[in-house]
């Protein structure tokens, strides 16, 4: 029982603190306090090592439950920790903003939804929280709704998400109809193909895989700490989490499909990240790419590797986003126009020392350098992909090779970003600008940067697993395949070298980088526009719109006249019936009524006025009655 209370506290405390903060003045402090308590309790839960389960009967045949096993408890700790750090950061970042109460309330709501998602094991309840998380994301993306393009971006991202959610719901409904058990963690029976694909596509939407990756770019219109929490560490990981939970049930063809999509997505996103100038968009593409890795990991059957990468990615990506927020904040004060554009940045190490240090740590982890957590997790995915390729056969080698190639790209754009932002001569005039980093801003950054190191996950800096994974219940595998770490290290170093040659401080490219507005080559142009994915969306949307117009036209011209005909016909028919009734039904009724009235008038006169007539009638009646009795 006490565990139930604990779980409910963990679940509802963020929401309550957000709501209370909404109506009071110290919204940030209340939220921080609430979430820190939630974090502590979730630590208690995680160290408990038990599987906790509370069930209740919702309708006949459907049993919802709170089911917390080790995977969930670790992820709950992760969500709470990252939320806490983001909240601390936001308390300083959003200080001057007028709507900060709203912000913290929405954040509390988001944390609640995310925790709820992690706590349930029934697909329907998970879908409820899935939608809630999407709603929270929409609310937070559109936070600065007074700005011009922000509401449209929020709407677009929400809509794209919704399309994927429809697919998820369709999958769930099909599963239910086919009679499969909707609880995760039950006996692993393979599902049929169609619902599996639908559910996988639903997860793709949340995790911004192809073709749903556009929404994550649009989501960068919101505040950067929001991006750090939601779009890097937690919500986008929900799709991966769902796939991890569901992967024992998926048939092999669907797993292959997932692997292909994940691989393609990561490659595509890495290519797009290379040519972008907006630091947030680079990070967004990077997130998509890393999510592609995670999805790939699931597809090749290394779900433990995906989870591991999810956890490490949460730390270093959140660190990167928060660092970017600091940079943008600084640039906002220094260069009013476009504070996100990397073309105007450079040489910020002296101005933002702590930010720079944690940013570098996190980005090295992202690139996958050994001695960092990112290497451990990415390597385990690559290893899993390679093993899958050796097991499956020819075409799977493409997946594995592309994954390794993407490592190169990742390292390239990471180095590009770091070099452009922090190193070299500043491309805007910063000399007169004094800036002091506030503790609240860099304290979370430091923590996140530190967690990007390898130590917390595995004592072996070149290993490929972690005791965390072991704790979560996956068996340790001693895998052969020592070529993979070697290859990945090679890729990373070559990526760095390439980037360094182009972007090193003082290089010709960097000094003229300011003038680089558009990439010259065709591929570059293509990549800049995100492979024209937006255009594809637009065309598809227009086609659907035209289809709906045609359907409306059909409805107006054909169906409506039919309905009119039917309704008029029924009105006419009813009038005819009324006429008939008036003559044929009312007539006899009236006739009988008038007969009765006539008889009544006749008999009314029977009550005589004088006694003798009454006696007469009395005697007549008596005679009649007696006669009846005598003669019959």
């Amino acid at each position: 029982m006490s565990e139930l209370i604990l779980i409910l506290i963990i679940l509802f405390l963020p929401l309550l603190s957000g709501l209370v903060g909404f109506i009071s003045k110290y919204s940030s402090i209340i939220s921080i306090v609430g979430v820190s308590f939630s974090f502590l309790f979730s630590l208690v839960l995680a160290f408990d090592r038990k599987v906790i389960r509370f069930e209740w009967l919702w309708v006949e045949g459907v049993v919802f439950s709170i089911h917390i096993d080790r995977i969930s408890s670790v992820l709950i700790v992760l969500v709470n920790l990252i939320s806490l750090l983001v909240l601390i950061y936001s308390s300083r970042y959003m200080e001057e903003d007028n709507g900060d109460k709203r912000y913290f309330a929405f954040l509390g709501f988001f944390i609640f939804s995310m925790l709820g998602l992690l706590m349930t094991n029934h697909l329907l309840l998970l879908f409820v929280f899935w939608e809630l998380v999407g709603l929270a994301s929409y609310l937070l993306i559109g936070f600065w709704y007074q700005k011009e393009s922000v509401p449209a971006s929020a709407r677009t991202s929400f809509m794209i998400n919704r399309i994927a959610d429809t697919s998820l719901l369709a999958g769930i409904i099909l599963l239910f109809r086919d009679g499969f058990d909707l609880t995760i963690g039950s006996e692993p029976i393979l599902w049929t193909i169609l619902p599996s694909i639908l559910i996988a596509v639903g997860a793709f939407g949340k995790s911004a895989q192809l073709p749903f990756s556009g929404w994550l770019l649009k989501a960068m219109a919101g505040p950067t700490p929001v991006s750090a929490l939601i779009h890097a560490a937690t919500m986008v990981a929900a799709g991966v989490y769902l796939l991890v939970r569901v992967s024992p049930f998926l048939p092999q063809e669907v797993l292959n499909f997932i692997a292909i999509i994940g691989c393609l997505t990561s490659c595509y996103a890495a290519i797009c990240a290379i040519v972008r100038h907006d630091i947030k968009k680079v990070l967004a593409f990077s997130t998509i790419s890393q999510l592609g890795y995670m999805v790939l990991g699931i597809g090749v059957g290394a779900a433990d590797a995906s989870l591991f990468h999810l956890i490490t990615h949460a730390f270093f990506k959140a660190g990167l986003f928060l660092g970017a927020a600091s940079v943008i904040n600084f640039m906002c004060n220094a260069h009013k126009n476009d504070s996100r554009d990397m073309r105007y940045m450079g040489g910020l190490t002296s101005k933002l020392p702590w930010t720079c240090r944690s940013f570098i740590l996190c980005s090295l982890a992202l690139a996958g350098l050994p001695l960092f957590s990112g290497f451990l997790s990415k390597d385990s995915i690559l290893l899993g992909a390679w093993l899958f390729a050796t097991k499956t056969g020819s075409w799977a080698y493409i997946i594995s090779d592309l994954a390794i190639f993407t490592t190169l790209l990742t390292a390239f754009y990471v180095a590009r970003m770091v070099l452009l932002v922090f190193f070299g001569t500043p491309r805007t005039n910063l000399t007169n600008y004094k800036y002091r980093e506030s503790k609240r801003l860099y304290f979370p950054l430091v923590i996140l940067g530190v967690f990007s190191l390898f130590i917390f996950f595995n004592l072996n800096p070149l290993g490929h697993s972690s005791y965390l994974i072991e704790y979560m219940g996956f068996p340790i595998q001693h895998l052969e395949g020592s070529i993979i770490p070697f290859l990945s290290i090679l890729m990373v170093i070559s990526g760095f070298v390439l980037a360094f040659s182009w972007f090193k401080p003082g290089a010709k490219y960097t000094t003229t980088y300011l003038k680089n507005s558009q990439p010259k080559s065709g591929l570059g142009i293509f990549a800049l526009e995100g492979f024209q994915l937006g255009e594809l969306y637009r065309r598809v949307g227009i086609a659907i719109y035209k289809l709906s117009l045609a359907a409306a036209y059909l409805d107006r011209q054909v169906i409506d006249p039919m309905l009119h005909f039917v309704s008029i016909g029924s009105v006419v028919g009813s009038k005819v019936l009324a006429l008939i009734e008036r003559f044929m039904v009312n007539g006899p009724v009236n006739l009988s009524a008038s007969i009765l009235a006539f008889l009544g008038k006749r008999f009314a006169g029977l009550s005589a006025r004088d006694g003798q007539t009454q006696i007469i009638w009395l005697l007549v009646m008596v005679i009649l009655i007696l006669g009846w009795f005598i003669f019959f």
């Binding site: 006025r609 004088d610 006694g611 003798q612 006696i615 007469i616 005697l619």
Partner: protein, 103 residues
Amino acid sequence: MNEWMSTYYLYLAALLFSSGVFVVITKKNLIFILIGVELMLNAGNVLLAFFSRFDSSLNGQIFAIFSVVLTVCEVSIALAILLNIYKKQRVSNLEELQEVGNE
């Protein structure tokens, strides 16, 4: 003779009764109606007396005596009321009495 006898009295009673009915229905004067009632009661007494012939305890006769006494009571009171009405209304005709009563 005996046979004829036994029904003769019954016919007599029937005659008395039906003429009493006729008088009550037809005549308009209250005292006349009283006379008719008398006739009917007498018819009943005749019947009672006839059937007490065959009864050794003479219950019919006794009953008839009681009936006579009650008739006397009834007639006296009816006449007293009638006198009352007459004193008030100055009419004893039934129709006029009714009209007076209806006003």
